[in-house]
Assembly symmetry: C2
Homo-oligomer: 224 residues x 2
Amino acid sequence: MIETNVLYMAGTLMRGQNYETRDTKERILEAAGEVFVAHGFQSATVREICRKAGVNVAAINYHFRDKEGLYLATLRYCREISFKKYPVYPDVKESEPPEERLRSFINSFVFRVLEEGKASRFAKLVAKEYVQPTNALDILVKETMRPAFTRLFAIVRQLAGKGADDETVRYCCMSIIGQFLFFLYARPVMKRLFKKASFREEEIAAIAEHITLFSLSAIRGLKG
Amino acid sequence: MIETNVLYMAGTLMRGQNYETRDTKERILEAAGEVFVAHGFQSATVREICRKAGVNVAAINYHFRDKEGLYLATLRYCREISFKKYPVYPDVKESEPPEERLRSFINSFVFRVLEEGKASRFAKLVAKEYVQPTNALDILVKETMRPAFTRLFAIVRQLAGKGADDETVRYCCMSIIGQFLFFLYARPVMKRLFKKASFREEEIAAIAEHITLFSLSAIRGLKG
DNA sequence: AATTGTATTAAACGAATGATTGAAACAAAT
DNA sequence: ATTTGTTTCAATCATTCGTTTAATACAATT
């Protein structure tokens, strides 16, 4: 009791009320990111999150209404971190050839999935959402997946040419996204299959380049 | 009390002990398949499984030791159903050209994932195992995934030719598996993105053919 | 007819869960 | 100095979980 009060006072005295609040919320969101990634929404417990964050369990209800409110806030928090570090088109203009735009699209995506750090948390949460959807999936589809798919579709449409029908283009988009999904999902399996689960930056770049070349080659071949 | 006793007696008197036992175990495994697919290992409850199966909760401990034992038995039970209906190579011999063997491999795999019925339960359980591994994953990798990967690797190795190094071949295998994964995982998202989540048999076959052509085209392109 | 082993039952166990409460501590405003 | 509004605290609520128990019912065996 004494110890926690001392810490609390130290925080408040130094930084004032608002900072303390933001600090608490952010500590909770950080801890929630870890725990939701580790266990998924259902199996994660607010108690573990609060223990990791060093706050009382009542803080969840106070700051985020309930467990579901915390989960949604965590998703948005993690997405912001991930997309800030790996933007959609870091340095490629809309006017550049579709090959380069595809390369850039894939590169950002793969790094968002495979990097070792907080920026890959969002991808891991999305992975769980795919397999075990919650109420948050509707929001995710609307805010994140549909825009991404639309962008990819435009690129592939340009690559495939006017000869290809929409269904073929859509299938090709799925084939490309599928290759991301492999690395998004298969890590626990890869760890057991190849005794390897983490990647250095050059390896991630090499994987992105493989997916790019594989996909470009496939689309080119389907065309002719 | 009276009602359940009547039912119980009716079952035993008509079919005898062994049949009754097998029937109970199978009813539990069927119900467990449904519930584990719906909620995953952690969030599934033995109570719901027993309710669906129409048996007492103690039956789990009696027949399967504990929840984990039931889960493992369910995985094996569902795998048997899935692989019996869609065998590894239904009608393609080892001596046929690698293109045909790849087509057959992909076809079986896609049907195991996309069919509407009990045979796709195993794929759905495996999907959950990817994202939220349990102790069963080691067994799954050993008994199911590693053999499948080895078969696929041999096919792609033959397709890519001697010029390609092992790493490239491995990446290509991942690209192919990734395309399966899309359909394995993305159904809840597809349902929201395209307003569609189920496939007729011709559509599944068309998807398998797309993945085959896409992959063959890609590998051919990488070669030259 | 008595015994044995198997299968099922209702009931209860302790542990853990999400959520809530009223009191207390604090900074800021008056 | 007092009041106000915000934030955290310990404690507790009612549920629900997986598992266990002792008793019973039954078929098969002796």
